[in-house]
Symmetry: D3
Subunit: 249 residues, 6 copies
């Protein structure tokens, strides 16, 4: 059940039996010479929607499509929230979903650069309750799609070299599976991009001139993407089921 | 050119000739017994994407899908930002797009409840420059899709009674044109919903028990939606072209 | 009853029977070559105080004299709050007045540029309650003095041409009625000022070199101002009475 | 020259020779059984306007009429900003006035409870410059009207007992001089109010049931108020002149 | 009992009988040619820890070591919070300590430049309660160590000339008593530093080239510091006892 | 060179050759039945100060002693900043240190719960520069003391079982080495504490009743702590040297 394609009475009815909602969350940022700018929010959306197709009881929120991508701002098309803005926005999403009675809010994340800020936001939200000695009416969980049980190993096996950290062949492949008409190609030098620390945008562009970090995205193909999605979907459904079943102390 | 389905070199190249970007912006909120929760962000997305199909030089950002919908929070599935959060997020989108060299940022809005906060945000952004006696490198414009030249008159003619202000047959029709398999129906009493002031969420639900304001959305049909889209697309392209051509003093 | 000229026991006693308070709110900003910088806060103050003279049971708060005027900052004497500051300040006024038991807080506004931010603030205030599923103990209303029933038509009739949008003859006239010794004159070219979009301060000054928008304020006179006040006062009293009598659902 | 009763070209012209502006600043809060709620903003306004009458070159801003009065909120009619809001608002006033070229911004304060927050705001404003190793284009000064050279001694002599700290006979007298038709009376027990620490609003009301602290305001009279004003006006003009003449290192 | 050197069960047990906590608070900022940068947080820490040695029932929090020192930023080693940050941090300390059941929170301050912001913070904290007509579960007190009863007089007697306002011989002496191996010396011209207003960092450095204000810190000695500490400790214990014993109305 | 025990001319002189500063940062929070509440800020302080003793050219800032510990608030003595406050405070520390010319700011962290917020803060700081296409004048680095090269392996070898995640024997041992007179003991059941997710304070206390997570801190001893410090100090000096030597692109 995709919230944005449902009516409110439909969500109302579903809330009688389902208290868990999945929020695909990512970023809109450069993904090397061939990757889609939307890669990091498309991947969790693709996987979550595919899971919802398999199990219609899964409630999926609209995709939170802009995250923390300040380091990519020297590349055209990147849109970033400051961490403080990102925190405020996530907080309001949680307040909204929690108010409707969702007791488990599961963020399926597609961008490594979001992790720290999302976790800081969880702490900010929990702190409101911790300071006043009350329990929040919900539990929050962050899961990167590549950290779904088994997925990372599967991707590593598929791309033993040149997987890297940004514009990885696995994420590019997932988007290619969903948008096969948009497969792009380019000459990339070096074949496997360099690695290094991540700081501000100009530092980033100087270190990683075409945007990739440690990756060789040309290994991606729609078929490989389909296999990754096929691995991720059951892992997601199982992970969400376990989170839903978790008994709070 | 949809930013999220492009690579950064493609946007980079396009910025050599195009300095305008269209941002579909809306809200995820209840739309009566039959309307999709995503209606207000789907409508500007549908229209902007249709325009981009006609004119590939149009640069369209990802859709800003959560807006100011606090008054709808008593209906399941609504997600709202507080106005202050909304302002911070729009500001960061503008900072990001402006940094890449977009000099005209055009928000195609799908939610009346967003208007005040978006305008307040424009003032907040401009104020940063006004206080220091400098010019901003961009101009901002807000346009509700129903206020595109000719569109409102067209919709009024199509729905002479029961158009109303929320869950209108015209917006429902636009989503039906794009998602014809999701046309929903319900018995609605009264046929045309009541009108009244908008305040907090519980006040809203007490006044408008099924969510509609002044509307009879059952008049909508995919075909009517198609006609509205067909009216809106050229109006949008013309409006954007005029904004792009505007010479700043 | 003007709050600032009353003692607390007097307000305390009045609150036993009156739950409504009127807050004159405006802006301190340039009003063309002849208009007073205080025009936009003086007008609602003049009208509200005149109404209170007719009906001493009307409770009037001190005037909120600085609003959102960033676009006028290129003209000396303008003082502006950023929208975010304006929102915080209005919120605190409302919290203060609401705490005393005022259940209807009516903002009589004198500045078009304030409207978006005031409405966004109302939403910000209501959102605090909407997120926690509670009712606020007050209702808020914004009314521009020129939108008081009948007033705009009256002004249009009085000034069929050259009324314009800023430094209008009607607002200038209202201040002249109250401060007849301060009637100023100047040569203005063109007689009727140009119109155009409102953006940042330097853009504004380039478009509207003497500060006016679309207006010919030399048509103003103290006598005309008196007539406008005489039209606005009963309209205000009636509007406030209706707001006070409104039954919340 | 009162800014709000001037046109922008008049302020523009005055700025050629005068770089100093006086901002009357106070609070709207209970002042005991007989004091006006506006006492703390009326006093600096009365004194500053009287000074401007004597010396028309004195530039006086509109009165900043709502300050930090959280401790008075248990008494009807009090309106308070949170300190953080107060800071944001003062900052915007300073940004606005500084932008026009005022190089000396002098706050004539009428409320002891404002002092800490105004000083913290000055530090907040200066910090923006201190962090980036630049000089601000203005200097800020805070002066309580009773601390104008000679005024405190004069008041102490006039009211050797029962002057106290809140709802003092001197401030009540100043308002009586300006609004003699509003002199109010009441039986007060004890004649001289108690003293004690200031904390939150309920604590305050429990300690100081009628609102006064340490004072016997019935000693006030319009004539005494006139004498205080006559003492304060030349002291203000001299103090402002010295501030204007101060050479920054 | 120093909180940071205790276990939570020890604090838990102590809270059964003691509801007061002392928070040493200061600043890390230049203190002239010879003073330690930590002087202003070391002094209250030294005094509070000495008091705790005499009376183990005194609960002392970790030292809040960075305060409001924007005016010292032109001198290397100074670290400053903006007042708004300082306020947020103090608020969180108070929320944390109040949550554990501390009903009296006593800030022993070592930096005059902190006073305004700490007082503004107290008002910000109290305002949260005042706006909602509730009592806070704690009372807050600020005491500068030199304002402990008798201490200022003692220091003035010890240093009849050249005590000054910054890098005073008394504060330097207190640190010398605790860190006698760190006594530093330097030639200072003039012997007694100038005085003047405090504004931004560059203004400060221009007025006070070596950092001192009005002081001759070379009069300090470890022995004099020991005497000051010996005077301050019993004064602190008595002051805290009185605060603890105060009955709230 | 410890900043707080130095004078400003000493830091000024050192800045001619050293551009790196180490900031010990931690948290004040419960550490199980026997651990000191200050453990997480004491550990990095102990290690950094020991390193400074070996190499006096190391510049060490005062210890940032309160971090993000909302989940520990159900245990007495814990003091926590909200993440947003923590971010503001770190930002001001960085602004202060960066203003003096420190080009490498190295945070030696002692609390796992701080990591997300510190990283989000780095992004917030960098974003200010990324949005305006400028380079920051400093690089930031976060290093947990147990992640110093070789240290984690050393601790794991020392405590093959029962190391756990909170109130670990290694951190307890480090504080015991520095404060051997404060070694505490207690009966702990179970010997090795349970593990689980970290959420709000009440959830935490329900899962981890005595505060420990996965650890058996009774294995700690001062001697073991000394060995850990001896391993960490050279690792820190080497790590800082490499960071200082890093050439920015």
């Amino acid at each position: 059940m995709l919230i944005h394609l449902s009516s409110w009475p439909e969500i109302d009815a579903r809330l009688k039996t389902t208290k868990t909602v999945v929020v695909p969350i990512g970023s809109n940022e450069q993904h090397g010479p061939t990757g889609l700018l939307g890669t990091d929010w498309l991947c969790p959306e693709i996987i979550a929607h595919a899971a919802e197709k398999q199990d219609g009881s899964l409630v999926v929120a609209p995709t939170f499509n802009i995250g923390m991508a300040q380091h990519h701002l020297a590349f055209a098309g990147t849109i970033s929230l400051r961490p403080s803005t990102f925190m405020a926005a996530i907080t309001d999403w949680v307040s909204s979903l929690g108010r409707h009675g969702f007791e488990r809010i599961y963020f399926l994340n597609g961008h490594g650069g979001n992790v720290a800020t999302i976790e800081a936001t969880f702490a900010e939200i929990y702190a409101e309750w911790s300071f006043v000695e009350e329990r929040p009416p919900f539990a929050l969980k962050l899961r990167n799609w590549w950290d779904l049980p088994g997925v990372h190993a599967f991707c590593s096996q598929m791309f033993p070299t040149g997987h890297g950290m940004h514009a990885t062949p696995s994420e590019i492949a997932v988007t290619q599976a969903a948008y096969p008409h948009l497969v792009k190609t380019a000459v990339m030098e070096p074949k496997i991009a360099p690695v290094g620390p991540i700081r501000d945008a100009l530092d980033y562009r100087a270190r990683f001139p075409d945007g990739r970090i440690g990756s060789d995205p040309l290994q991606a193909s729609p078929e490989k993407g389909r296999q990754i999605i096929d691995a991720a979907v059951p892992a997601l459904l199982k992970d969400v089921a376990e989170f839903s079943a978790e008994v709070l102390p």
